[in-house]
């Protein structure tokens, strides 16, 4: 998103937002954003890939642990929407023409697509496959 303040426009990225929160001394909130918008989507993609590898190569054992991994992935996905909602609130509130304005940038759409697609991916994974492969 681009934040314009007193006529000076400045594009903000997710990482930049986290850094500026840390500079402002809001470390817990910065951690929240870091976890929700960077760590969770990345780890989720990694987790789904591991689950698919597990099913494809019929890895034996630890089926219960794999099921727990699946449950965590399915539960955690929706929390990444935090950033999208934050942008929608900022866009609505900070809208004072040239004085101060927030405009959503192209990365917002890409990020939203990541969240929605990984949620669909997690929903379409069938945990029963893990158990079917156990001998």
């Amino acid at each position: 998103m681009t934040i314009t303040s007193l006529g000076v426009g400045e594009p903000h990225t997710i990482v930049g937002g986290i850094l500026s929160l840390i500079h402002a001394g809001m470390v817990p909130i910065a951690m929240l954003v870091l976890v929700a918008s960077i760590l969770v989507p990345l780890l989720k993609l990694l987790g789904i890939s591991l689950l698919l590898l597990n099913v494809h190569y019929r890895w034996q054992g630890h089926a219960k642990k794999w099921t727990v991994l699946y449950r965590i992935i399915a539960f955690v996905g929706r929390w990444s929407m935090l950033d999208i909602f934050m942008i929608s609130i900022l866009v609505a509130l900070v809208d004072m023409g040239r004085v101060a304005q927030v405009i959503a940038g192209p990365a917002a759409t890409a990020f939203a697509a990541v969240v929605v697609l990984t949620m669909f991916a997690a929903k379409n994974f069938d945990p029963r496959l893990i158990w079917d492969n156990q001998r």
């Binding site: 402002a24 929240l32 942008i87 929608s88 609505a92 759409t109």
Partner: protein
């Protein structure tokens, strides 16, 4: 033909003898640990009452201002809708639709469906759409994200707090109440019990 009375665990497909748990007990799948059932006190009555409360609260939460800001002499109020509308005006269709669905439409549908289902179960009125409603409700659960919206709102407030004056509107109180109601609604709705009643009503 003898009637086979087994249930399959929805997560690992293990065939199980159905249990009839008492209040306060939990039924887990012995193989994968999936929570199969957790009976609730007066599940139907509570779901009925909570969904009425939610249905009332959703109007102020949607229509009244959540937060307002005052910045350099300008003031502006934000409602649930204003974010969607501003995103539309900036031609961010995808995000606007996504925010609309997950913060307005799905929470509303969630409450309407709970209300419809619990009303017909409460008054013992069979309805041929009951099973469809129940299925839809289970699918949609995940996509209503009021609690995530709340967190997003907190982060936005923190970001704005240094440069502008924030004030909280009546809509915010309604929103928080709605959040609590939907949380209680989700935990009071005993799916196994609901499906059993739906099945009984059909006969």
């Amino acid at each position: 033909m003898t009637k086979i009375n087994f249930i399959a665990c929805p997560e690992c497909d293990l065939l199980l003898n159905p249990a009839r748990p008492l209040l306060g007990e939990k039924v887990h799948c012995p193989r994968c640990g999936y929570l199969l059932q957790r009976p609730r006190k007066q599940s139907i009555e509570r779901t009925f009452a909570l969904s009425i409360a939610g249905f009332i609260l959703i109007f102020p939460a949607n229509l009244m201002p959540l937060i307002g800001i005052k910045m350099l002499g300008n003031s502006k109020d934000g409602t649930l809708w204003s974010g969607v509308i501003s995103l539309f005006e900036e031609h961010m269709w995808g995000i606007a639709i996504l925010v609309f669905l997950s913060s307005i439409l799905f929470p509303l549908l969630n409450i309407i469906l709970s209300l419809l289902i619990s009303t017909s179960l409460f008054f013992n009125k069979p309805n041929r759409y009951l099973a469809n409603w129940m299925r839809l409700l289970q699918h949609m659960d995940e996509w209503a994200m009021l609690e995530v919206y709340m967190l997003g709102m907190i982060v936005a407030c923190v970001k704005l707090a240094s440069t502008s004056e924030l004030k909280f509107g009546f809509g915010l109180y309604a929103f928080v109440a709605l959040l609590i109601i939907t949380g209680m609604l989700a935990s009071s709705l005993d799916k196994v019990l609901f499906w059993r009643y739906i099945n009984q009503l059909k006969k």
